[in-house]
Every structure is written in C-alpha cells, then in structure tokens.
C-alpha cells in the first residue's frame, strides 16, 4: 500500500516516497543498471497502475522487470513497446519510435484508459535518449514530453520517470541537453554503476533524500 494518498512509495531503493506530481529525470551510462532503478521507481503498488513506453525492450521483458521490482507490478502495467509484438490489451506495439505523433497519441490513450479504472499512476519512458536519437528535430521530443508526458503528471494523480542513457550519441551536446532537462523536471537521479551488483545514486529534488547513496542491484 502507498504510505499516503499524496505520496508514491518506492520499493528497493533508499527513497521512502515521492510526492504526487513529481517528474524525475533518470540518467546514467550503464543501461542495465539504469533499467533496474527505473523499474523500482515505476513499478505500481496495489492501488496504482504503471504506464511504460519501452523503446528497447519487449512487453514481456518489461513486465518481468516490474515484477522483480515489486511483486505483481507487471500485471498492473500498460506497456507501449517498440520492440516485439503487442500481446494483449496491456501490451501495445508501435512500429516506429520516431513517429512521435503516433507514439504520443497511444501514450495519452493508455493513460486515459488506465485512469478509467485506477486514478493513481506511474508513467515512465525507457529510454528517452533512443527517441531523441531517432527523431530529426529535438524540438519534437520536447513537444512530446510537454504534450503527452509532463501534462499528464501535472493534471493527474501520478509521477513520471524519464530515463536517458547519457552515453548515447544523440547528435547534440548531451551534457547541455541533460542540464536543460534537469531544470525542467522536479527531480533528478543520476545512476553510476560502481561494481558488480552495486551502484551509487546522486539524488536531487526529492525532499529528504538529497545527495548520494549506495544501493544494491
């Protein structure tokens, strides 16, 4: 159960809770480590639903990842995937991740559908850097984030996590882009893999949890 109606509890991370309406920018250079932390943030509790846009993983893989982060979270998720087929009502395939008009409509539609049954949601994009590398004009990525992601968090009862692989070639100054996004999101978590099964999180913008903290993967 969530700790309170305005907060979202986080499993398996040293973060007690994240306030409703918070947007989190999650960055790092090791994709697998990033994926694990992403899943722990986005995995839905019993009275919530996860809505995940997965650019590099299939629906089954995302569900498994969410289940690993929180028991049963996979079955409380709606997944939009650019990898592999759509499987059932809760896994929708998209053909072209660079078609942000289509992706945005599908994503908004999933959020709206999930809210018909469950108001509280955790939305996530893994990886936004893949989207940025696919589109021609980065302004489209910002328009997509504003229109179909940040707006849903602002209006609804939810939190959102956008993951960026900082080592990706995005055809831009990645540090400058991330610095800009950091000012626009409420919180940032930078993930640094420090050893086998270990990582350090550098957290800002989540009250009570500012600074660095070591975690087990």
């Amino acid at each position: 159960m969530s700790l309170s109606t305005d907060q979202f509890g986080v499993s398996s991370l040293p973060i007690d809770e994240i306030e409703n309406g918070t947007s989190v920018l999650l960055t790092g250079e090791d994709t697998e480590t990033l994926k694990t932390v992403f899943a722990r943030l986005v995995a839905a509790d019993e009275d919530e639903r996860s809505i995940v846009l997965a650019t590099n993983s299939g629906g089954r893989s995302v569900r498994r990842l969410l289940d690993d982060a929180r028991a049963g979270a996979g079955s409380r998720s709606s997944i939009l995937t650019a990898e592999g087929p759509g499987r059932d009502d809760d896994v929708t395939a998209i053909e072209d991740i660079g078609d942000l008009t289509q992706v945005g409509m599908q994503f908004s539609s999933l959020v709206a559908s999930s809210q018909q049954s469950t108001a509280r949601f955790r939305s996530g994009i893994f990886l936004c850097s893949t989207i940025a590398s696919e589109v021609e004009d980065t302004r489209s990525v910002y328009r997509f984030l504003n229109t179909n992601f940040l707006t849903e968090i602002r209006r609804g009862d939810g939190i959102g996590v956008v993951a960026i692989d900082a080592s990706a070639d995005l055809g831009t100054d990645v540090d400058s882009m991330i610095a800009g996004m950091e000012r626009s999101f409420n919180a940032r978590i930078d993930v640094d893999k420090t050893g086998y099964n270990e990582a350090t999180l550098d957290i800002s913008g989540i009250p009570g949890h500012e600074g660095t903290v070591d975690i087990s993967l």
Binding site: S109, E136, D137, S140
Partner: protein, 297 residues
C-alpha cells in the same frame, strides 16, 4: 477577455464540439467543417487553441494540425475523435505531436472543455522545455517596466562592446517572455523578437553556465530550425541575466556566421557582460520606482 478556439468537425458534430469548448469560461469557439475551411480560418483569425476531428469531408485533421504547426507552432491542438490511434495515418505527420482525446470516453465532452482550457493556460504543447520556476520567473520579469526604462542607449553600447570584444557578427540582449524572446539591443542585426521555440536562448537559459554551440549544423536541437538558418546563425554563446531574486529573465549572447569556440576566459567575460546588463536593468528600475514614490509623496 475571451479567447478564441477553432473547432473543426463534420456538419452533424460541430455544434457539440463548440458547445463543449464554450462551456468553459473565457473561451469562445469559431467553427469550420472542412480542412480547407479550417486553413482559411487559421490564416484570418487569431486563435489560441484548436480542436479538430480526424475524419473530415475533404481530408483529415492531421492536415489541419500540420497547417497549425507551420503557421503558429506553439498553438495547442486537441485531436478529438472516435478513431483509435492505431487507425490514424501519421506516416506523413511524424513529428506534429498533439493531445489525443477519445470521443468515445463516457465523459469525453466534459473532458474536452477542461483539456483545451488547460493546454492553453499552460502552453502545454510547445517545442521547448521551461524551467520549473517558470511561473515565478515570468512574474519576476513582469516587475520590470521595460517599455518605460531608459535602457536603450546603455544596452546598445554594451552590445557594441560585446561584438567588438568577441569579434562576432552579432551580439544581443534579449528577454525571454512566455511565448517569445524580445531583443532589447542588437548589434549586427535588426531583430525585434523571435518565437520562443525558435530561439537558442530558451535552451541556454536552462543551463547555469554559458551555453556554447560551436556549430549548429552538428546539433539536432537547432539544425532543423529554419529561422536560425535564415538568420545565418552558425555558432552561439549565451549567458544568463539573473534577477536579484534568482530568476533567469534574459540572455546576453554572441552569434557568428561561422563555426567557432569560446575559451573559459571568454565565457567568463560573457557572464560579466550579462551581469552588467542585469545591474543596469535593476538600477534603472530602482530609480524609476524611487521617483514614483517621491512623486506620490
């Protein structure tokens, strides 16, 4: 003040759509029932938002959205339709990005009024990110009586000095408003304002330090921006003008028509110019406010 929303749908549905929009206080609707009609209205009527169906008699709503993005890219659009996203042909419209609202939802018409109002109020579909203190930043910017302050000559002198110091084609001081950047002084070009999502400053203002783009051809944030290309901009460096209460309200920038780098010393110097411009603005504002108090006494 009433704000006008363009609603586009077929003859048998348009009145339900315009009624939903007009149920919101301060919104009024104008209508069109075809793509051609809608594009005509966009060219002649100032609208703050657009609601369009997908299936229209002479084409699709995507053509309308394409026209909106071309003419006024920051205007928000809601696609209000009972056609599912998967059935919508977006192949030729991949980077338009709009809000999709399923007309079949039980409370769809109630939602439509709320959503169009919300996207207009929050400029929710712009192609740039805003700082998380954007509302407070705009309030801080409003505190300056820019039109009334005698800053023009001082700022012209500063941009002349900057252009000479850095040996660049253009130097300017710009304030970043909600929807556009207004240039207070500009040496080397004759610019008044630029739509915010076309500016590099709206990116630069999000960075604490000086943002340098050595060659915009190598940067996907800018290399598809026709405005920048038309202005002949190749390289850019921008420093923040930060108000005394900590909000970035503008930029002091240098541009060149060729690729170039900026050393740490040059970046620091640009920041010093930005601090100087900010000081002048604050001092002029303080003098004006003191005079106003004296007159009242």
């Amino acid at each position: 003040m009433s704000r006008t929303v363009l609603c586009i749908d077929t003859e048998d549905r348009i009145s339900a759509v315009s009624s939903a929009v007009e149920s919101e206080e301060d919104l009024s609707a104008i209508t069109a029932t075809s793509v051609d009609d809608a594009i005509d209205r966009l060219e002649t009527e100032p609208v703050v938002g657009v609601v369009t169906a997908y299936a229209l008699t002479d084409g699709t709503g995507m053509e309308v959205i394409s026209a909106v993005r071309e003419q006024t890219p920051q205007t928000p659009v809601v696609l209000f339709t009972d056609v599912s996203p998967a059935e919508i042909d977006t192949a030729s419209f991949e980077e338009l990005v709009v809000e999709y609202l399923n007309r079949d939802l039980p409370d769809a018409h109630d939602r439509l009024g709320f959503i169009i109002n919300d996207v207009i109020d929050h400029s929710a579909q712009v192609g740039f990110l805003t700082p998380d203190d954007e509302d407070e930043r705009l309030e801080a910017l409003e505190q300056y009586d820019i039109e009334e302050l005698p800053i023009e000559e001082s700022f012209d002198r500063i941009t002349d000095l900057i252009a000479a110091q850095f040996d660049v084609a253009v130097a300017f001081i710009g304030l970043i408003e909600e929807d556009e950047e207004n240039f207070l002084a500009c040496t080397g070009a004759d610019w008044d304002s630029l739509t915010r999502e076309d500016t590099m400053c709206t990116h630069s203002m999000l960075q604490e330090d000086v943002m340098v783009v050595e060659d915009i051809a190598d940067d996907k944030r800018f290399n598809k921006n026709e405005q920048l290309e038309n202005l002949g901009i190749v390289s850019y460096a921008g420093a923040n003008m930060t108000s005394s209460d900590g909000h970035v309200i503008g930029q002091v920038c240098v541009l060149d028509h060729e690729s170039r780098t900026y050393s740490p010393e040059e970046r620091h110097r640009l920041e010093q110019f930005a601090d100087t411009a900010m000081e002048i603005l604050e001092l002029r504002q303080a003098v004006r406010e003191n005079r106003s108090v004296e007159v009242q006494q």
